[in-house]
């Protein structure tokens, strides 16, 4: 977190975005580069549901599912941008449109200035999706042969291709395993090879779709560090990361967009979004659970959305709540409870789950 804050400490101005979907909350960092790597305008996509035989025979109208709805957003060159959303939010559809694998129904998307519909081959030269599915590797080939194939498909030849392959295998720490069949690789090794394969083309925009979903927590952390340090910073790529892991998005990304049921409901600097929607959430351990004192804090506007549950230690209760003013609010609350004769054993910030985060963003979205 400190690392991220040091790099991305900016004065944030919360404003209604001119590019986000109507009503979406945008947190814009003034002074940021105006050169945009990815520009989305009103991107909309629906998929038709498959009909069963009964529906076909009874002539029922085809139902469609809206995967993306009027999504507008700019991702600046060199930025690490996170797309946060639950399963089915539209993240993968958006990535597939950017990778020219899916045609949108309406709106436009440009990558490095190239339109995905009008210049798909230019887009494919500029952008590379890291297809996180391990199956997209050729398992009966060695890591080096996988790299060699994709080097050729990206137009690299001879000594140049060999040099680039060696560089990238070293980068992802697969030199020793390079000549072994991929079928013998661990999940982490396969993920690193997928990234190395994608970097062959020196893409200026990289798409990462849930890259840590098949990794254990330790491997996932190490992989995230690799993405941040060796991929984004060292290669200067613009990275779009789709994830349903809020912690991952907050750890890696400069800015985050929140997709919900195909709508981009919020975009903003990660630190600001985290603070805005999560940093006022605290858990306080108290004894006794004095409801009058809690109600009084709520009435004063210091505390809201309080949930009191018995703590693990008998006699103590855990109050999870929003405290206005963050740490100042926490200090005020502790002092108030002490004056009311309530013992306070512990008070700490609560990390929000993606579900909580979405709930809060959507509540704000509704307000906006």
């Amino acid at each position: 977190m400190a690392f991220r804050d040091a790099i991305f400490k900016r004065r944030i101005v919360i404003e209604q975005s001119s590019v986000a979907a109507p009503g979406a909350i945008a947190f814009r960092a003034p002074g940021a580069s105006t050169s945009d790597a990815v520009v989305l305008r009103g991107l909309t996509k629906s998929f038709t549901k498959q009909r069963g035989w009964r529906a076909v025979l009874t002539g029922k109208a085809r139902e469609s599912v809206r995967a993306l709805s009027d999504v507008s957003c700019d991702v600046r060159a060199g930025e690490f941008f996170g797309l946060l959303g639950e399963n089915g939010a539209g993240k993968t559809t958006l990535f597939k449109i950017l990778a020219t694998l899916v045609i949108p129904d309406a709106g436009s998307a440009t990558v490095g200035g190239y339109d995905v519909l009008k210049a798909p081959s230019r887009v494919r030269e500029t952008l590379a999706p890291v297809i996180a599915d391990e199956r997209s590797l050729h398992w009966r080939l060695s890591g080096r042969e996988n790299m060699r194939l994709f080097a050729a498909l990206h137009g690299l030849r001879g000594a140049e291709a060999a040099r680039r392959i060696d560089e990238l295998l070293a980068l992802v720490n697969l030199v020793e395993a390079a000549d072994r069949l991929v079928s013998g690789y661990s999940s982490g090794m396969k993920q690193r090879l997928l990234v190395a394969r994608t970097l062959l083309a020196r893409p200026s925009v990289l798409l990462l779709d849930e890259p840590t979903r098949s990794l254990d927590p330790i491997s996932a952390r190490s992989f995230r560090q690799f993405l941040r340090k060796d991929v984004a910073l060292a290669h200067g790529c613009t990275v779009l990361l789709a994830t349903h892991n809020a912690e991952e998005a907050f750890e890696l990304c400069d800015r985050v967009g929140v997709l919900h049921r195909g709508r981009l409901v919020a975009t903003g600097a990660t630190s600001e979004l985290a603070r805005e929607v999560g940093e006022d959430r605290f858990a306080i351990w108290i004894r006794p659970a004095d409801q009058v004192a809690i109600d009084s804090l709520v009435a004063r506007g210091v505390m809201r959305d309080a949930k009191v549950t018995p703590a693990e230690v008998e006699g103590w209760s855990r109050v999870e709540c929003d405290l206005r003013g963050g740490l100042d609010g926490a200090a005020e609350t502790i002092a108030f409870l002490a004056r009311a004769g309530v013992n306070v054993a512990r008070c700490e910030p609560v990390k929000l789950s993606l579900a909580d985060l979405l709930e809060r963003v959507l509540a704000r979205h509704g307000n906006a």
């Binding site: 597939k96 020219t100 999706p129 599915d133 050729h138 398992w139 080939l141 194939l149 498909l153």
Partner: protein, 266 residues
């Protein structure tokens, strides 16, 4: 071309990583010639008159027919098969995301199977030669353009089948119909002239009919390619027309798959 070779090479490396299976497939191919040799030997007197003008030995006649049929089968099934494999193994999406033209991808995905079929054909012909097949070996080079035309003439069927796979995840009935018709009406086991009545007219619509007539004339009768210009011209015309139709169909299927979003689903 570099990209096509890279794909063919990777398929070759994948196939040969199963070393035992690869060796056995060639071993069984050579062994399969032996019963053909004895059966055709027994039928030689009966078939000698029937095959007149397409070689004098039924063994060589049938071997050339089987080689061509295998080549047709590989051509028809290699492309949709390659697409289905790439979809089910998950590599298709990664391949499509590279700056590689669709033509190069299709050629690369199917090229290995077609080339392997050519090599298998050559091995089969050599094995037949060892058993005494009457082949005009000096005409081997001259027969290559005809072999290439047989492949090209069946490529549109492969492309249309691949379009079906891409759009609807099924090969449809076309490849089976063409292969069945080619097997029994294309002149593989007997000349088309012996097929009775109206059924014979179907063979006129099969590219293999012309390909085999030309191939046998050159490879078994030792004639020059100029003597089979009529068959070659029909093959060329068939190829040109059907390639245009199939390319349009494939582009439409690709656009449809991109629109409905099932390009990489299996």
């Amino acid at each position: 071309m570099h990209k096509v070779w890279a794909l063919i090479r990777s398929n070759w490396l994948s196939a040969t990583s199963y070393k035992l299976g690869f060796i056995f497939s060639f071993g069984s191919l050579v062994l399969s010639i032996v019963p053909i040799f004895f059966i055709t030997g027994a039928l030689q007197n009966t078939m000698a008159n029937v095959i007149k003008g397409q070689g004098d030995q039924y063994f060589a006649f049938l071997v050339v027919g089987l080689i061509a049929l295998n080549l047709v089968s590989s051509t028809i099934y290699a492309l949709p098969g390659g697409l289905q494999t790439a979809t089910s193994t998950g590599t298709l999406e990664a391949l499509l995301a590279t700056p590689t033209s669709v033509t190069a991808l299709l050629a690369g995905l199917s090229g290995y199977e077609v080339l392997l079929s050519l090599v298998r054909g050559l091995v089969m012909l050599l094995a037949a030669g060892l058993l005494g097949a009457h082949v005009a070996w000096l005409q081997l080079g001259a027969s290559l353009p005809i072999v290439a035309l047989v492949v090209l003439a069946h490529l549109p069927i492969a492309i249309i089948t691949a379009a079906m796979v891409l759009a609807f995840r099924t090969r449809g009935p076309l490849p089976q119909l063409v292969l069945l018709a080619s097997t029994f009406l294309g002149g593989v086991y007997y000349p088309t002239a012996v097929i009775p009545g109206w059924i014979e007219s179907i063979s006129a619509f099969l590219p293999l009919t012309y390909g085999l007539t030309a191939l046998r004339a050159v490879l078994l009768e030792g004639k020059s390619i100029a003597t089979v210009w009529r068959d070659v011209s029909i093959l060329l015309a068939f190829t040109a027309v059907s390639l245009v139709v199939s390319t349009v169909a494939f582009k439409a299927a690709l656009r449809y798959a991109r629109r409905v979003g099932n390009l990489a689903q299996y």
